[in-house]
Symmetry: C2
Subunit: 152 residues, 2 copies
């Protein structure tokens, strides 16, 4: 039996659940999940507030959660994130040569998508209303925290 | 009294001491230090092995050690690293808009220096023999660990 691979929207649901968990912890509501061959390898969420950490964004926290892997594993991976990846997370995707990135939305923040594409990464933007609404509400509620997270 | 600011080589000494600490822990010998207005704000080293973490490179571990800061602090910062920064650490420097990067060496590995310069970052490469020798010996001793760290 061959199991069907999850759709981009189904993978996004995992990242979105992470973002909701982060919000419940008083954190910045951005989540990510890493799939390899259709299987979930790890997931995570922004933990700037929770860990007092400027390096635990959704994607990097997800990579840490997924653990150490050789390049051959990342070569079959898809990174799914609720928000367009910032420069740091763009760089993490490039470092590990993850070939496909699925993005919930890039309306509230546009990250390094052009750089990703220029380096051969396939970028899929879902324009997910749940992700847009969540970030819009967060930015309105805590603009200073959001500005700290993207250093503006 | 105005204290003199440390020279690039003196700042590199702090990053190099971190790299040596990392080597002593059985880790990958890359270290970094963050200076603001000539004062040390934090330092760190690659902890892939120590934390089983793919996101704790020298520069990112240093940023985590330095803690959370607004953009106005990073705007006065210099990131010092023993080795040319990988794509992830390049992205972290860009995210936080750190205007100056001092690099021990880029002989054993050349990272995102061109991207940094294209985004307005001043990049100073010291061609430090101690850094070159340390990385050369490490890569010869543990090539698989090094390849994992740069995902090749």
């Amino acid at each position: 039996m061959t199991l069907e691979r999850p759709t981009p929207r189904e993978m996004l649901d995992v990242a979105l659940a992470e973002a909701v968990t982060g919000a419940g912890e008083g954190g910045i509501p951005i989540g990510a999940a890493l799939f390899v061959d259709g299987e979930l390898l790890g997931s995570g969420h922004n933990r700037r507030v929770q860990l007092d950490s400027p390096i635990h964004h959704g994607e990097t926290d997800c990579l840490m959660s997924a653990g150490r892997h050789p390049a051959s594993v990342y070569a079959r991976a898809t990174m799914v994130t609720t928000l367009s990846p910032c420069d740091m997370c763009t760089g993490a995707i490039l470092l590990y040569k993850i070939p496909h990135v699925v993005i919930g939305e890039n309306t509230t923040f546009l990250g390094g998508e052009e750089l990703l594409r220029s380096r051969g990464v396939t970028v899929t933007v879902l324009d997910d209303a749940r992700c847009i609404d969540m970030m819009t509400a967060f930015i309105a509620a805590k603009p200073e925290l959001w500005h700290e997270d993207i250093s503006v």
